[in-house]
Amino acid sequence: MITLWRLGLAALLLGAWHVGAESGFLSPLFFGHPVKIFAVIVEWFATGEIWRHLAITIAETLLAFASGTLCGVGGGLWLGLSPRTRAVLDPFIMAANAMPRVILAPIFAMWFGLGVASKVALGFTLVFFIVFFNVLQGVREVPPTVLNSARMLGASQRQLLRHVYLPAALSWVFSSLHVSVGMAFVGAVVAEYLGSSAGVGYLILQAEGMFDVDTVFAGIIVLTGCALVLDAGVSVAESRLLVWQPRADAARGS
């Protein structure tokens, strides 16, 4: 029933857009034309041209996500467990986090060129802080009895790190997977849009240069689809990784 309503609503919106564009009420110069947009997408996939760009955007996303997560976990554990270092670095971290990092895109383009590396760099700066703060929180919120219990069971300092702090921190990282993967994607696309030679963001940038609104919208739709697929992938990974956590829906009833 809900699905029917949703389909109906989508059809209504698309229909209104189409009628508006046909009648000239919505200028196709600014709003595009749904049929033409659809044609662009079909052609992209038919000729296979889009795959190269999509692959690059997704590779940038995954690299930014992986590097940001790795460094975030490492940095979070390190500072979480050495309060003194943390006290020293605190203002620097706050400043770096407060900085609107999208501004760095042109600088990264200068440092790393127009290729994949500068896109990964921007995504990295976005992902790193999300993961870093989650790990800090995870380390701080390890229940003292669990920690003391592990110590009484004979855990060495290294074993505490591996078997108590790391799992506790990772549970926080996993619970923020949706946000960090999303940020990696945003970083990749924005960096492409601000200067690149390939990727879906590049396609959009090109089309804008030629006032080709239909292609711009087609690019946006492909990106949205890609983001949804990534998000679904995260949901699958999440349910595998967090079996040990009580689920909100399990707590409600059953």
Binding site: P143, V146, S149, M152, L153, G154, H163, A168, W244, Q245
Partner: protein
């Protein structure tokens, strides 16, 4: 020589003196219970014995040696939730042996054996949030006992269990203790439990600055069945004598609670 000895131990948290000059000991192979009103400092005493907390003054001796750092001879059954939530029941029990360097396979086999002994056979795959409070308590017990520690520190281990399970576990504990004579420091607020299990019962004064007020030797025959022994006249007589002392402290603690 005492397996565990407190010598004039004081603990202060900021301005508050929680333990005030406590001296007592647990002999090798002895089962000692500590009873006292709620909040008087029982868990604090166990943390001292475990080496998780250092005394503000005085000292704790393990086999005659002053304790500094973690008490490696002791297994600790915590009052609160202490299982690692990211490990299944079996892997929680296997944790101690793994930390000690045992192979994963051997550690898991040992864990399965102990899960069976505490009545959790077949529940090894469950994570802590999938178990009841009583099951988690039993998993904690298995987690501690699998390491076979010569000293056992137990903080109200059975208070979350229903009466039947509780008596089963108490008898199981007694048979484990009977078999290899661990030294046990057992904390409870249940006087009947203390008497039925112990060689000696120590009554703590109400806080602040708690310390042992009186000690009672329990000369009831062993081996005991915790349910049957409660019905004997000797048991009732001892209980009455101890309650005489304890009641005053409980009332004192209760009035303090009301005043606060």
């Amino acid at each position: 020589m005492a397996a565990l000895a407190f010598e004039d131990v004081t603990v202060r948290f900021g301005a508050a003196t929680v333990v005030g000059g406590a001296s007592f000991s647990v002999g090798a192979g002895e089962f000692v219970s500590v009873v006292g009103p709620t909040g008087c400092g029982k868990s604090t005493l166990l943390n001292l014995a475990a080496g998780l907390l250092a005394p503000s003054s005085g000292r704790v001796l393990v086999d005659g040696v002053t304790l500094a750092g973690i008490n490696r001879r002791a297994g600790y059954l915590f009052q609160g939730e202490s299982l690692m939530p990211w490990r299944s029941a079996r892997d929680n029990v296997a944790a101690g042996p793994e930390f000690a360097g045992m192979s994963r396979g051997a550690a898991r086999a040992a864990a399965e054996t102990w899960l069976g002994r505490v009545g959790l056979a077949g529940h090894g795959e469950k994570y802590p949030h999938q178990m009841s409070g009583g099951m988690r308590k039993r998993a904690q017990l298995a987690q501690t006992l699998v390491l076979d520690p010569p000293v056992l520190l137990m903080d109200e281990p059975f208070s979350a269990l229903d009466v039947q399970t509780r008596q089963l576990m108490e008898n199981e504990l007694l048979s484990i203790w009977q078999a290899d004579r661990k030294s046990v420091l057992f904390i409870t607020h249940d006087l009947e439990e203390a008497i039925s299990l112990s060689d000696r019962v120590i009554v703590l004064s109400a806080g602040p600055a708690t310390r042992p007020l009186a000690e009672f030797a329990i000369d009831l025959p062993r081996p005991r069945d915790v349910a049957e022994i409660r019905l004997t006249a000797e048991f009732r007589a001892v209980e009455e004598r101890i309650w005489e002392v304890l009641r005053g402290e409980v009332l004192k603690a209760y009035r303090q609670g009301e005043a606060a």
